[in-house]
Symmetry: none
Subunit: 421 residues, 2 copies
Amino acid sequence: MTNKIKTGEIICVGTELLLGQIINTNAAWLAKALSDLGVSSYYQTVVGDNRGRLLDCLEQASKRSDLIVLTGGLGPTQDDITMSVAAEFCGQPLMMHEPSRSKIAGYFKKMGRLQVTDNNWKQAMFPRDATVMENNNGTAPGARLRYESNHKTTHLVLLPGPPSEMRPMFSESVKPWLTEMTATRLRHLFVRMIGIGESSAETQLLDLIEQQQNPTLAPYASEGEVVFRITQSLKDVSDPDLTQDVLNKVKARLGKYIYEVGERKMPEVVKDMLEEKGMTISFAESCTAGLAAATLAQYPGASHVLTGGLVAYDNQVKNQILGVDQAILDREGAVSEACAVAMATGCRDVFKTDFSVSITGIAGPEGGTPEKPVGTVWLAAASVKGTSVRKLQMGGNRERIRRVSVLNAFDLIRQQILLID
Amino acid sequence: MTNKIKTGEIICVGTELLLGQIINTNAAWLAKALSDLGVSSYYQTVVGDNRGRLLDCLEQASKRSDLIVLTGGLGPTQDDITMSVAAEFCGQPLMMHEPSRSKIAGYFKKMGRLQVTDNNWKQAMFPRDATVMENNNGTAPGARLRYESNHKTTHLVLLPGPPSEMRPMFSESVKPWLTEMTATRLRHLFVRMIGIGESSAETQLLDLIEQQQNPTLAPYASEGEVVFRITQSLKDVSDPDLTQDVLNKVKARLGKYIYEVGERKMPEVVKDMLEEKGMTISFAESCTAGLAAATLAQYPGASHVLTGGLVAYDNQVKNQILGVDQAILDREGAVSEACAVAMATGCRDVFKTDFSVSITGIAGPEGGTPEKPVGTVWLAAASVKGTSVRKLQMGGNRERIRRVSVLNAFDLIRQQILLID
C-alpha cells in the first residue's frame, strides 16, 4: 500500500477546554496511543465549537499530517458541530445512517422516552463516504473519512469527547485499522535516575544524545528526578532490540543513579520491592504530614506493605507517641539528625514494621533560621540493618519541598531495602 | 493606551506532551487564568521542541491573537529552545542578563553544587528588549516581549513548564501586568457549594444563568463540589458592584449548600475556622492514608491547628493504637459506621485535640463486595459536641474516591465546628 500513515495530529474540540474548565486528558491518551503505533505527532490543537475556526484548523492540519484525530462535538446539542464541519471540509453531504438511526430509536425506546427530539437524530447523520464506528458506551457514534487534496490523502478520525467513550472506541475501531496503515513502530525504554541534576546528567551523556540516530536518547522532564528516554524506530516488530545497547552505555556512565528502567516511579518501585520480600513499612512524618504514606497508598495493593504511619506535626506527638527524647527536641530541635533518627526508630517500634522512614523539616514559607533555612529537611530510614540518614537543602516553594522530600524518603528506604539480601 | 489585550492563546512546548507522557495541566490552568482576566481564548496549541514548527506556530498565533502565552522549553538542556526561538521570531539577539546570571550562581552555591555546567548559563540569556520575570521556585526565569508586525502588536509571555514554577510566576509577574493591559476589567465572585450535584444546582439557577447579561452567572468545573462564577464586566474600576445582587439571589435558593464565597477551598476554610477559634484537629485515616492531613498541611500556618494524625491502614493499628474494639472489626468490618466512629473518638483521645475526623473505605480497584462496593466510604467527626457520621457511595477511580473522601471529611468537620459557638 502506498498511502502509509506516518504523521498524525490531534484536534480537541470544545469550549470548556478553552475556558480551562476541564483538563485535556484526551490529548495525552491519544498522543501516547499514536506514539505507540509509530505515528509521529508534531501538533495538538484545542479549538472551540466554532465552524470557521474548526475549518481553519482542519485546513492547516491536512497540509502537514497524514492523520487527523478529532475528539468532541459529536453530541446531540446545537453546539456539537464536528461531524457536519468534517463533512463540509471533505465536500460530502451528511446522510442518514440507517443502523445508527435504529440504534438510537432502540435506545430511547428502552429508556421509555417515546418522543425523540429532532436533535437526537443528528447523531445518525454522517458524511456520505464515512466509515461509521459504533459507540458501545454512549449514544454518539464515531466516523472515519478521507480527505483528498493536491495528490495527498489525509485521514480524519472523529471520536466522542468523554474519555469513557473515546478510549474504547479508539481501541476497538481505530487501533486495528491504524496498525495496518502505519509505516513504522517505536520501541521505548525509560531510564529513571535520582541523586544527579538534569544538566549534569545530560553533559555526561551529550555525545550519545547528539550522535545516536536510531535509537535516540533524549532527556524527559520529571520533578526531583532525572529521566532519559531511549526510542528505537522499527521497520518491523521482529527487528532486533537496539535499545539495550544504548541502555548499557548509559549504565556504564551513570549506573549508580539509575533506580528504574521502565515505567515505574520511585514510590511504586519501593512498593514492589517490599511486596517481593513480603516486608512492611511505616512512616513518621512531620513537615510532609502524611504525604509519603498517601503517596504509597496511591498504588493498588499498597495494603500488602503499608502498615500505617504517624503524622507527628506537633512536638508533643513526636515525644509522647514516637518516644523522641524531650532533650533532643529542646537541644537540637525537631529538624535535626537526632530527631529524624529517633522518629524513625520510634515509628518502627510503634508499628512493628520491617522498615520505617521519618521526615522532619522546614517547608516554609515561614519558620527558617540562618542555620536551618526554609528547605532544610532531615530524613531517616530504619530497619534491622540499622539506620541511615539524609539531609536535604532545597529551593522552591512549600509544595515542592514537601514533594521532593517524599521522593527522597522513598529513595532512602530503597537503599535500606537493597541492604537486605 | 491603545494596544489593549483582548485575545490570547496558549502554546505549550514540549515533546513529552506530544508523546502523551505528561498530561497538559498548564493549558487548563492558564486558560482559566486568562478567562478570569477577561482575555478571550480561541486556540491552544502543543508543539515539540522544534525551531521551525515553533516559529510557524508563533507566526500563526501572532496573526490572530493579541497575547501568546508559551510554557516549557526554558530549561538548561539542548532541547530547551523556546527563549531563543522567541528571540529569533522578534528579531532580537540573545543577551546575558546579569541579575539572572548571579542568581543562578547563588542557587548552585546554596545547593552545594560547585560545578555549574555551561548549559546552566543559558538560562540567563534573554532577547535584548525582554522584560525578565524572576523564578522563585526554580532556576529558569521567564520573559515578556513584544512582536510588532503589520501595525499590530502581539505580546509574548514565556513561562517555565513545571506547574510549580509556572503558576507562581504567572500570579506574581504576569497577572499584575495583564490586569493593566486588558481592555475590560472583570469582577469575579466564586460561590462554592457542597452537598448538591452540578446539574441539580444548574436546574435551580437556570433562569439566572440564561437571563443575566452583566453580571453573568456560570457554572465552574471543580471536583467533588459545585462552583458558580459571578462575573461583572467593568468599564471602570469604580463601577458599582453588581455581583452582590446576584449572589443574594443564589443564596436565596441554594444558601444551605454554600460553604464559601471567595477563593478558599474547603480545607483552607476549615483551617481558618479552627485558627480563629484557637482549636486543634487530628486525623485517623485508613483508605486515604494521610491524604487529609497532608492536604491541611499544604497551607502555611497549618501547624497552629494540626496536631497530628494516624495512618491506620492495617486493622491492627486501628485496634491497638486507636482502640477500635476488635469485635467491631470482626463483626462489622473496618468499613462501617461503628468503626469510623471508634476511629474518630479514639483519635481524639490519642492526640488530645478539640476535633478529630476519621476516613475508612474501599478505594478499589479491588476489594469491593455486593454490600460494600468499591467507592463505599464512612466518615466520622468527633468533638466535645459529640460525633457525626457520613456515608459516601462514589463512582470513579481510586484517586478520585480518595480525593472526594478527603473533601467530604473536611465538610463534616466544618459542620462540627459550626456547632461550637
